[in-house]
Subunit: 141 residues, 3 copies
């Protein structure tokens, strides 16, 4: 098992602006602040969402556009390095007006209504992604 040991550093309590692009805001935040290793979790609501499912045998993404107001039941992910730059990887579960849930990989175009995020910075060796031919994804190695 891939295993990197790290220590917990400062925590950032974040609220992206109303109407902003959730993933882009997080991506911009970690680059601006030089955060290369972190874990995050959040709850809130979005006015619309784009999520993705990965077709494992075909090694391609399916895009799912959810053009409705949704609760963010939760979102979770991490920050590590790809090509020397921090990259944010987030999964999300959204809930509609009947409580039904939609989950997947968070994509650009998900618009913030309100999000309350805790990003925990970590101090340790670099955790680096590179293309993994077996899965077709950029994974830790």
């Amino acid at each position: 098992m891939f295993d990197v040991q790290a220590s917990i550093g400062p925590v950032h309590i974040l609220k992206p602006e109303y109407g902003s692009d959730l993933l882009k805001e997080l991506q911009n935040y970690v680059r601006t602040n030089g955060i290369n290793l972190a874990w995050l979790s959040g709850v809130g609501a979005v006015s619309r969402a784009n999520i993705r499912y990965y077709e494992q045998p075909e090694q391609k993404w399916i895009d799912l556009a959810l053009d409705q107001n949704l609760e963010v039941a939760g979102m979770w992910g991490n920050v590590s390095l790809l090509n020397g730059e921090p990259i944010v990887h987030v999964h999300i579960v959204l809930a509609d007006s009947e409580g039904h849930c939609y989950g997947g990989h968070l994509a650009d175009g998900t618009l913030v209504f309100n999000l309350e995020i805790m990003l925990t910075t970590l101090t340790g060796p670099n955790v680096i992604r590179k293309m993994d031919p077996q899965t077709g994804l950029t994974l830790w190695y």
Copy 2:
């Protein structure tokens, strides 16, 4: 982006009593223990649940009563200040006997079967909610 930096303090490993009201117990716990800033996560099961969805344009809540035994696939949230008192904000995903999920904002009337919660206290500036007219919610500012 709203951004408050904090440090991690002691962690509380919590199990509310069987049959108790999950949100009320958490709310009472943080007030009794003077916890003003925290993040929490948990898993378990409930004998019934009340969750809510926020209608964004109408700025009103829809209440969803789930009168069945459910797994708590997960719950996540935070503690911050409203009117000088700590307030717990939690989202939850519940799963029924076929694995189908229901998610939303945790409301009173959700009854504990078993819950295993980690509440991480944070030390930092006060994080305060007030009414936000744009969303109709009490948000960090």
Copy 3:
């Protein structure tokens, strides 16, 4: 409310091997590394999953086999002691190609496509499970 106070120790950033059994790998990891108290969270994908729902009145498990490739929207859980050995308790939410979610208690036979896990070790008093007749589960006491 059951309440144990602990401190955060080192964090382990984990990626179980492609094709491995997710729960067995985690279980083996904590035993091999002598981790008796921890919290964990993860995101990724699996090639298939086994989850469980607990019938509360009957005190028995329903097994749900999901024989399809699925996103791991998220997984969360903890490590505590049962019969003197660390035991991993994890809940999971999975999402299919339409974003529909399935949640429950993670069981053996869930096979890793890719998983990115943060396991936060905790230092504190032992947290011990034993059989609880009221629920039929091995719970903290």
